[in-house]
């Protein structure tokens, strides 16, 4: 029950108060010397560092964001391309589901980081290796979300379609896919955030650009400010992508306008 949902303007105001309060407190404890700026630079220092990285002749931030975003999206879309059809089939066919489930259960808990040694061995250190790490980190989740979403589709809808003369393929295309789509999309939204954690792992080794690379090398140089700029950039980029994703969701799931549909 959402009995106490605030109006939009209140949400914005309280959100802003929380954010400003948090940043102010952070600035204060660093300025007053409670925290060594080497361990945690003040927000003002982070902003300054961000400015250095974002504008001027040595600006690398935009390129880093672009490079990482391309890696994330490529791996992410590849995992959708493979994971969604497989998930649909697993969702509707209990035999295939039973056969593949153990494999998925083995792959799913593996963190992206653990794929680095093998991926380097098989694919080297070029872009494909980065895509592969993001892909491996996302694929199993996409599959599981799709399978769950597919199994959640009201079975009477399938019966209704069959009753109207739909073949099994037509049921899959016209009933199961659109029926599962809302839940697939909310699953994909979670996976998109996972994809970002993967790309940061992928850029630990064999990279010379990207937000992950920027963070890892900043660590090598003991540049905590730059580490925070990298982290902040990830947060902002994911936030932006999330908003874009919501737009795509609204476009693909128009029947959920009010979110009231059962």
């Amino acid at each position: 029950m959402r009995d106490k949902e605030l109006e939009l303007w209140r949400l914005i105001v309280f959100g802003a108060i929380g954010l400003v309060g948090f940043i102010g407190l952070w600035e204060l404890v660093v300025r007053l010397g409670f925290i060594d700026p080497f361990f945690l630079p003040a927000p003002s220092q982070v902003v300054q560092r961000m400015q250095q990285l974002a504008v001027g002749p040595d600006a690398v931030l935009w390129r880093d964001i672009r490079v990482s975003a391309i890696r994330v999206l490529t791996g992410f879309f590849l995992s959708i391309l493979v994971g969604v059809p497989c998930g649909l089939i697993m969702g509707v066919n209990p035999v295939i589901r039973a056969a593949l489930n153990p494999i998925i259960s083995i792959i799913r808990p593996l963190p992206a980081l653990s794929w680095i040694p093998l991926s380097m061995l098989w694919l080297g250190i070029d872009e494909q290796q980065k895509y592969a790490i993001v892909f491996m980190g996302c694929f199993a989740s996409v599959l599981v979300y799709t399978t769950d979403a597919t199994m959640g589709v009201d079975p009477t809808l399938t019966l209704a379609a069959r009753n109207l003369g739909a073949t099994r393929m037509q049921v899959l295309r016209y009933v199961v896919l659109p029926g599962a789509l809302p839940n697939i999309l909310s699953g994909l939204k979670v996976v998109l955030a996972i994809a970002w954690t993967c790309v940061i792992s992928a850029e630990m080794v064999g990279a010379n650009s990207g937000l992950g690379f920027r963070i890892w090398t900043a660590k090598e140089w003991s540049d905590t400010g730059q580490v925070l700029v990298g982290m902040l950039s990830i947060s902002l980029t994911v936030l932006l992508l999330d908003i874009l994703f919501r737009g795509v969701e609204r476009l693909l799931v128009p029947w959920r306008k009010g979110g009231s549909a059962a």
Binding site: D36, M120, G124, S222
Partner: protein, 345 residues
């Protein structure tokens, strides 16, 4: 109240797990002071290893536990956090940390002089620096080879930012990535360097001894320096001094017994062929207590450090300002006399 049972079950399970953790409190070290030392597989650490294995630290009242951390900055951060007390780290990482305002450690010495242990190796078909144009060179960013590489490229008229593609690699990954042909050239120090050279048809294009820094100062670009945790030293400077005495005693033992030392550290600390370790150790010079007072001065390593700081600030733009590294130096913990071998039974 069924839930209570679950809480009890959960709590006892957690306690069981916590009990399994091997903590060594002071009273379990038999009255010895616990010290955590961190380092890599670099030969420079041999005195520490020997000190642990030969019980030299224990004679001075310390229980030293060794932790492997491959990268200099990670070691420095372990010191800064207070979790470790003694480390040797690359000079470049140290200077960079200073520039970024890390004041949690003392620079107490220079570990070794060992030029000729790192170099630039190219894959078959690349025989000169001219061939490197547009090629991929891999090494761990922010380490001594980072500077070595940039210096060498510049000396041969190549712009490290435009003419080649530099790729960041983990220390341990460099040989494998090079062997697989994913990069065209690589730089790393021992023991990885030997693995690079061992690749069939690989050419050593240059060593760290070919850099200007070596020509001027006779050191490698980023020699390892000795670091102590600041709070640990400040709390009891005499204890720190005693610890360094133990270290230099161990160093002395290694110098007198190179073959025994080699046998001691092989496999346990360095996974390398015995003959290769022996050969490399002959080129290796550890700075003893007396040498420290000479090296840590304006006549010693300071001008070299100035040059490195300049490179970091102007060329690589990795540091926001030039730190006055002298503020971090603490030579009071360095004993006046070298530890003698006689003290070791």
């Amino acid at each position: 109240m069924r839930a209570i049972h679950w809480y009890i079950l959960f709590a006892s399970f957690w306690l069981l797990l916590a009990g399994c953790e091997q903590k060594t409190p002071a009273n379990k070290t038999g009255g010895l002071e616990p010290v955590v030392a961190v380092g890599s597989q670099w030969y420079g650490h041999i005195p520490v290893w020997a000190g642990i294995e030969r019980g030299i630290f224990e004679q001075y009242g310390f229980k030293v536990s060794w932790r492997f951390i491959g990268k200099s900055m990670d070691r420095l951060n372990a010191i800064s956090s207070g979790e470790a007390q003694f480390a040797s780290v690359g000079e470049i990482a140290m200077l960079s940390a200073m520039a970024h305002g890390n004041r949690r450690f003392y620079w107490v010495g220079n570990q070794d002089i060992a030029p000729g242990f790192e170099g630039l190796v190219a894959r078959p078909g690349i025989n000169s620096f001219a061939d490197l144009k547009g090629k991929k060179i891999g090494f761990p960013f922010g380490s001594s080879v980072d500077i070595t590489c940039r210096l060498l490229l510049r000396q041969h008229g190549l712009d490290p930012r435009k003419d080649v593609q530099l790729v960041n690699l983990e220390v341990g990954d460099v040989p494998a990535v090079f062997r697989a042909g994913n990069i065209d050239a690589a730089l790393i120090w021992e023991p990885g360097f030997s693995q690079l050279v061992a690749v069939e048809g690989a050419t050593v294009l240059a060593m760290d001894t070919d850099t200007e820094v070596y020509r001027h100062f006779g050191t490698m670009t980023g020699p390892d320096v000795l670091i102590l945790g600041k709070t640990w030293v400040d709390r009891d400077p005499q204890r720190a001094k005693r610890f360094m005495q133990a270290y230099f005693t161990a160093l002395e033992w290694v110098r007198v017994h190179p073959d025994e030392a080699t046998a001691l550290v092989q496999r346990r600390y360095i996974q390398q062929d015995l003959a290769l370790i022996r050969k490399n150790m002959k080129k290796f010079i550890w700075q003893d207590a007396q040498a420290q007072h000479r090296v840590m001065s304006e006549e010693g390593i300071y001008p070299q450090a100035e040059v490195i700081v300049d490179i970091l600030f102007h060329q690589i733009k990795a540091i926001p300002q030039k730190p006055d590294f002298r503020e971090w130096v603490n030579l009071e913990v360095i004993p006046e006399t070298p530890g003698s071998e006689r003290e070791v039974k």
